[in-house]
Amino acid sequence: MVAESVLATRETSWSEAVSQEVDAILAASELGNLISALVSKGYAVIGPTVRDGAIVYDQMESVQDLPAGWTDEQAPGQYRLKRREDGALFGYVVGPQSWKKYLHPAEVRLWSAERQGGTFRILNNEVKPKAPPAFLGVRACELAAIAVQDTVLLEDKYHDPIYGARRSSAFLIAVECTQSAPTCFCRSMGTGPAVAAGAKTPVDLVLTELLGPKGHRFLVRARSERGAEILDEVKTTPVTDADLHEAESGVEKAASQQVRSIDNAGIKELLYQNFDHPRWDNVAARCLTCANCTMVCPTCFCTTVEDTSDVTGDHAERWRKWDSCFTQAYSYIHGGSVRTSGKARYRQWMTHKLAAWIDQFGSSGCVGCGRCITWCPVGIDITEEVRALREGASHGNP
């Protein structure tokens, strides 16, 4: 059962959508030229690569950096890489990192200041990254996550210029999933595995990797003017019905492989009205409050600020860093923390992610990528926690 999409509709502002989608077939051997075309246009291409036993995002030198022939095996609290039998370039699902690593950096300097007499002067306010990034390999769930963070950081009362500058300059190349991990549940969240058509999803190119009898190639769809321009720079061949069918089947296969799901019907009320559900004690007994889930989650956006000054005391800097609602200090106000127990902190994270987010931003904060399940050291499964809450749930007002 596919629950209705909880993604709010959005307007694209960054890339002008094409009036008519451009479809083409790109041979796998041509992918390197696509990357070169992006580089020659001044983009820093960032894509997946194998490092430290995982598939992570990093700056790419060439197509050789891609994790050809690798896949990932994921389960609650488990992640390992495994060799594939073919040479698929994007034959994995999702790694521990998401694109928020680049759009909403873990550490960034907000500004610096120097003393001037009794007062001070703000020195610089650099927000632009050196080269605009091109993200190669954005999954449907990751696109949805970017859209969610756009709503939080750009479309509410205030505008975050750091996110805004990186976001407006980023070129997005989505690669659809043709397989799912057991931890995936994007289907039930309405965020994938297909990259939704139409102007709602902000993306420049959408690729689907095809490994069928016609050879290793990609179905490419340009969904923006600049996406179409890049496509013009590489050799492509026309799309046939068979190509379209193969691509659709691949994505369908990924969807049908998903074993986990969240039933979002009445989820806000479920979480708001079950503050004292015994299940919270159950999960609290397991949760280490290690904050892994918030770090790997592509929509978690919480940050803290840190003030530093040099030895002379004349030069100060204000830095912004990722923070997590799982820490004791997160809810500290003079005298103590409001959420001292792990139970309160886990409950806060889950209630915010699945329920309060809807009141705050008009959609769920969860995109069903499953990273929190994979990277939780004790394998806590958010989909299982929702199911457990529904059992013995209270339906009245507390």
Partner: protein
């Protein structure tokens, strides 16, 4: 969805300390001005600023001055830790970074034509002082003004001379109490809720604005309802950890509300189910 503010919300504007005066042993009032902003910054009662001390840190502090005189930004700060202590020990001429004002303010529009009940506990009188100024400045626009103020002990009372001056205004009642009287206090002793029975209240035409420690606000709200006020006419100013004040850092969330932009002032109706939840 409102139009997003597009200037960098994290950049402070340097202001200079014009005066620092001591209100109580641990509470000081700072007055700030800026040559770059000769008109200061206009604000609504109940709003707050983020004040930055060079190399130390930034704090959310309620604006406690007169909204009609915003050329000078006025803040009453209680020293409770490293950052607040750094703020209150700034000398005249020192630079303090200012961001804001932020937040929803007290419901001055809803209070027009009605009686205004101000209930303050401790430092909570500071964010309510602008309300008193505004009511007295536009006297014809409001009904009676009742100020109920409680502090820990007599030496912790803020704005004592002003309290006496306000008490002399027409249609204004000021009642003060302390938790611990000490040796020479001849006034009322007891928590601020014990003042209610002496207040001349007309519940059906009153709007109450409450600020103080959270437990105190909870008791006060309940007591106000016992006296007949509706939960939509009782407003509380909430507080949580704040790092950015613009809805990005996530720290100030209280249920689904961001205290920095959905608050800090909320009608009790919105808070009732939240305030009873332990460790929310």
């Amino acid at each position: 969805m409102a139009t997003a503010v597009t200037t960098d919300p994290m950049l402070p504007q340097p202001y200079l300390v014009q005066a620092v005066s001591k209100e109580t042993p641990d509470t000081f009032t700072l007055k700030l001005t800026s040559e770059d902003e000769p008109n200061g910054r206009s604000f609504r009662p109940g709003q707050f600023s983020m004040l930055w001390v060079f190399g130390v840190g930034e704090l959310p502090i309620s604006i406690s001055g007169n909204p009609a005189e915003h050329k000078q930004l006025v803040y009453t700060v209680r020293s409770v830790g490293q950052a607040t202590n750094a703020l209150v020990t700034q000398r005249v001429g020192a630079g303090v970074g200012v961001r804001g004002p932020y937040g929803t303010g007290w419901p001055m529009d809803a209070a027009r034509g009605r009686d205004v009940i101000v209930v303050a506990g401790g430092i909570g009188l500071a964010p309510l002082r602008p309300v008193i100024y505004e009511v007295l400045h536009h006297r014809e626009d409001f009904g009676r003004l009742v100020v109920l103020y409680g502090a820990r002990s007599p030496r912790d009372l803020l704005y004592r001379q002003e309290l006496a001056a306000w008490a002399r205004q027409r249609e204004t009642q000021v009642l003060v109490t302390v938790d611990y009287g000490g040796m020479s206090w001849r006034g009322h002793v007891g928590v601020v809720t014990t003042l209610f029975k002496y207040a001349r209240l007309k519940p059906a035409q009153s709007v109450a604005m409450v600020c103080g420690p959270e437990i105190m606000m909870r008791f006060v709200a309940r007591e106000l309802m016992t006296f007949g006020l509706s939960r939509n006419d009782i407003y509380l100013s909430m507080e949580r950890n704040m790092k950015c004040a613009v809805g990005f850092c996530g720290h100030c969330q209280y249920g689904p509300h961001f205290i920095c932009k959905d608050g800090p002032v909320f009608p009790y109706e919105k808070l009732r189910s939240l305030m009873e939840k332990y460790e929310l």
